[in-house]
């Protein structure tokens, strides 16, 4: 990745101090954030296993072995997992309720990981022009966080005996792919990333009011603010006011039917 020449005196001080601060926050994250998330996912998984009503796991099996069978045009979806059997193997079946939300979310996170990966690849190939170092750090860090989010959502799914969602969101992927082909510079990539973050944040905010298990709410609530933080920094990088709303909107949330179809 190409980097812009900078004043070494000012940046040397900034880099050192900022890196120390970042490392401190990363340590806090490892000490506090990850254990709390793991606890919530464990509770969610346990509830999924023991639910008598089956509203989490979903009882209706759907024919076919596709990892994601449907999710068309932002309307209804019926997310399915690969077939399998008992004894620990992934089970076949349509995901409903909280697990359908988790599946939708995992798809969004997979898309984000892939999109940021494409940005890194394009930047490395010189297709985005000069890439500021702060943007390089942002993309690398955020890509890693989205991978952790995907893992968290998938933990609930695999914990309930289903196969993990390994593919990107089928509705948004063609849109993002087409838009990214038109991107020729860093601001263009940042605007696309901003859209993804806003969709993810709004979707999880919507999920907070939809999912049933408290642990499901906890997972969504612990990720939504982070996506909005990504959006704030992207706005700042684009020269836009970083906190534009007193109340985060839901207009970019994926449709409710995409969770429960």
């Amino acid at each position: 990745m190409r980097r812009r020449n900078r004043s070494p005196e000012v940046m040397a001080i900034s880099e050192q101090e900022l890196t120390v601060m970042t490392n401190d926050l990363e340590q806090i994250h490892n000490d506090v954030g990850v254990p709390a998330m793991n606890k919530a996912v464990r509770e969610w998984t346990e509830r999924s296993r023991t639910s008598r009503r089956g509203f989490l796991i979903g009882a209706g099996a759907v024919a076919g072995g596709a990892l994601i069978a449907a999710c068309s045009s932002g309307s209804s979806s019926s997310t399915t997992t690969t077939s399998g059997g008992s004894s620990g193997a992934p089970t076949a079946g349509k995901l409903t309720g909280d697990l359908a939300v988790a599946a939708l979310a995992a798809g969004l996170e997979n898309l984000a990981v892939a999109a940021y990966g494409d940005v890194l690849t394009a930047a490395g190939a010189g297709k985005l022009g000069t890439v500021p170092p702060a943007i390089s750090t942002f993309v690398t860090t955020v890509k890693g966080q989205h991978a952790q989010h995907a893992q968290a959502w998938n933990s609930a799914i695999t914990g309930a005996g289903h196969a993990a969602i390994a593919t990107p969101d089928p509705v948004l992927t063609p849109v993002i792919t087409a838009d990214f082909k038109k991107v020729t510079d860093v601001p263009g990539a940042a605007k696309l990333a901003l859209m993804l973050e806003e969709v993810a944040g709004a979707t999880y905010q919507s999920a907070v009011g939809v999912v049933k298990a408290v642990s499901s709410v906890q997972v969504a609530a612990s990720i939504q603010p982070v996506e909005l933080q990504h959006a704030a920094i992207l706005n700042f990088a684009l020269g836009q006011y970083p906190v534009p709303n007193a109340f985060s909107p839901l207009m970019h949330a994926r449709p409710l039917t995409d969770y429960t179809g």
Binding site: P225, N245, F247, M251
Partner: protein
């Protein structure tokens, strides 16, 4: 009092941040247009809350299943099983409150009102803190960085809107509005005020309030029973997290002696150090260890 604009590392005179106040006004205006759209869903949730409160008062009870779920959540909190670890237990909840909770018909609304009152008390304190900060010359005066001044002004207004919304929700559920600051956090602010002699301490104090608010609301959405109170709180928690994110970035640039980089000027991102790309959100999952106890700001 230390000047907001610090001298450069080579001892040169400080320079004003490169920002066009007119452009800043346009940006905020655009933001407010977007905000109006966001308000529509919030108003809808509040309207539903008012309707819920009217139904509760008219019929004297809640949906039995909702009350059962509230009781289950309450038990989990008291045994310390909730995300973030036993908020009510940590607050020293006593027998009187447990007796109140023993009435399943009103369990959900009573608990929700307490949570919302605490949220309102946090917002009240945030408004007053930013208001105080804006009286300082290096935050709201002539020597202030325009972006920091605009941020403090806009953020204060956003907290006022949060306060109004939380109190609207409380009223909708039949509770008393809360207009006093969180008593525990107010002591923290009062102790910090004498030391607010430069931008750094102000940013640190604001960051503490924003992080605490965001973490509290993350816990609250898993605790609240009323669906609309939950939606309202969910629409605010991420905004507080964004405030914290901006403050983290500002704090880092101040600590790095680079206040001139706190600007929304086009192309400024090219001048930011690499670490600035991640300092605002080091955690992949938002923590809750600084969440305030649910009853801390509740009215007795």
């Amino acid at each position: 009092m230390t000047s907001w604009l610090r001298a450069g590392p080579d001892g040169t005179e400080p320079t004003a941040p490169d920002i066009d106040p007119g452009a800043m006004g346009v940006l905020i205006e655009q933001s407010q247009d977007i905000h109006s759209d966001a308000m529509a869903s919030t108003v809808e949730a509040l309207d539903e809350l008012v309707q819920t409160g009217a139904e509760i008062r008219a019929h004297g009870d809640l949906d039995p299943e909702e009350s059962r779920q509230a009781a289950a959540r309450r038990t989990r909190l008291m045994t310390g099983a909730a995300f973030g670890g036993g908020m009510l237990a940590a607050a020293g909840i006593g027998g009187a409150l447990q007796s109140l909770f023993a009435s399943p018909a009103f369990a959900a609304s009573a608990t929700d009102v307490q949570i919302l009152q605490t949220a309102a008390s946090i917002e009240t304190l945030a408004v007053s803190t930013y208001k105080t900060a804006l009286t300082l010359p290096f935050i709201g005066g002539a020597s202030a960085n325009p972006v920091v001044k605009a941020f403090a002004t806009t953020t204060m207004q956003q907290h006022q809107q949060h306060l109004d919304a939380f109190n609207g929700a409380i009223t909708g559920l039949g509770g008393k509005t809360q207009t006093s600051p969180d008593p525990a956090l107010a002591k923290v602010v009062a102790a910090a005020v004498p030391g607010l002699t430069s931008p750094g301490p102000v940013v640190a104090l604001a960051l503490e309030l924003e992080q605490g608010a965001a973490e509290t609301y993350v816990v609250d959405v898993a605790t609240l029973s009323d669906a609309n109170a939950k939606k309202l709180t969910a629409s605010i928690m991420g905004v507080e997290a964004q405030h914290a994110s901006v403050l983290l970035a500002v704090q880092a640039l101040l600590d790095a002696n680079a206040p001139q980089l706190i600007t929304l000027a086009p192309g400024n991102v090219a001048n930011l150090p690499a670490a600035a790309g991640s300092v605002g959100f080091a955690m992949a999952f938002f923590p809750t260890d600084q969440a305030r106890p649910a009853t801390e700001g509740a009215l007795s």
